[in-house]
């Protein structure tokens, strides 16, 4: 580099955050546990919203007992959360079966789109994305303000950038 010449070559800072865990492949399957079957339409829409993104990943429903992610629902009462994802990780890869649970105490009162945005967020975790607390206009924003305030219920560009970084 010539003296006195300062050329910025750094890539733009990424806004998304990674969990630090990913799948070996690009097709992630999910099974809807009986308590969540009433939400199947919203769950399937959430999965589809990830599958149609310009990324390498697909989130597909299966009806057999061999699957990557278990989708369930439970009434936890008024504990301030409408969705949870629980998983284990080893060496940077998901192990076992990650489980997502919708809290029916709240989601029973949501529209189908309201339920979809929670499940899309939880699927984001099962793909390896962490919360993005700085941008309400992403599906990985930590609270359902992402939808009820910012109108987001599908993966946005920042979420897509994160997935493309995890699954190049």
């Amino acid at each position: 580099m010539s003296a006195g010449v300062n050329i910025a070559t750094a890539a733009p800072a990424a806004a998304y955050y990674r969990e630090g865990c990913r799948w070996h492949g690009y097709v992630v399957t999910y099974y809807i546990h009986a308590p969540a079957l009433a939400y199947a339409t919203s769950i399937n829409s959430a999965a589809y919203s990830w599958s149609v993104t310009p990324t390498n990943i697909f989130v597909n429903r299966v009806y057999t007992n061999t699957y990557n992610v278990l989708v369930s629902a439970y009434n936890y009462g008024q504990n301030g959360l409408d969705g949870i994802t629980y998983y284990t990780c080893s060496g940077g890869y998901f192990t076992g079966v990650p489980e997502t649970v919708l809290n029916t105490n709240y989601t029973n009162g949501y529209s189908n789109t309201g339920r979809q945005q929670v499940q899309a967020h939880e699927f984001g975790h099962t793909l390896g994305l962490a919360h993005n607390p700085n941008n309400c206009y992403t599906v990985m924003y930590p609270t359902s303000d992402r939808y009820f305030t910012c109108g987001i219920y599908t993966p946005q560009q920042d979420d897509i950038n994160g997935i493309n970084a995890i699954y190049p």
Partner: protein, 178 residues
């Protein structure tokens, strides 16, 4: 896609081999023994709390607590910590006689949100749970550490709530709530 997967797997093996994860010279280590399994819990919160008044509005009991014992359990397939607490001082609401239980999602090994610690003193904004215990309002929004002279916010996802407040300041905010 198959080629990408094969290359990715190879890179993982190479990265692990060169990451310092491998056995030290002179030591024998079983293959894969360095791959620790970690547990993770992520939560979608219903809403973002922006004021103590909002937290008060969703609380039925606001009190200073001391954690007397803790146990781990599973609720709806998710690990929870149940803290048995004594109620030291009530700022608002009515507490049942004796100790009460507070359910928090996550454990010390499956960390989700800030947890109360055994022996710790806290100001907690509480709401009833279906199992007869209580939840902290807003997952961790309603949880402050009690230093004896002030309260320190434990929640990292409610930046609009006061980071700290003296006992007097917080009592004023609580009493002014809805």
């Amino acid at each position: 896609m198959t080629r990408k997967l094969a290359v990715g797997s190879t890179l993982v093996v190479l990265a692990l081999a060169g990451s310092g994860c491998g056995p030290s010279p002179g030591r024998v280590q079983a293959p894969g023994a360095h791959l620790k399994i970690t547990q993770h819990i992520d939560i979608s919160r219903v809403k973002t709390y922006t004021s103590i008044s909002e937290v008060v509005g969703d609380s039925s009991l606001i009190a200073e607590l001391t954690v007397k014992s803790q146990a781990q359990t599973t609720i709806g397939g998710i690990p929870f910590t149940v803290s048995i607490v004594s109620v030291d001082h009530i700022l608002r609401g009515t507490a049942p006689a004796g100790t009460l239980g507070v359910d928090q999602v996550g454990t010390s090994t499956a960390v989700a949100e800030p947890l109360m610690a055994l022996g710790g003193r806290y100001l907690a904004f509480l709401t009833p749970a279906p199992d007869g215990n209580y939840y902290v309002v807003g997952v961790a929004a309603g949880l402050y550490q009690d230093t004896g002279t002030s309260y320190l916010r434990m929640d990292t996802e409610s930046p609009a709530l006061p980071a700290s407040a003296s006992h007097g300041e917080m009592d004023t905010l609580v009493q002014a709530g809805p």
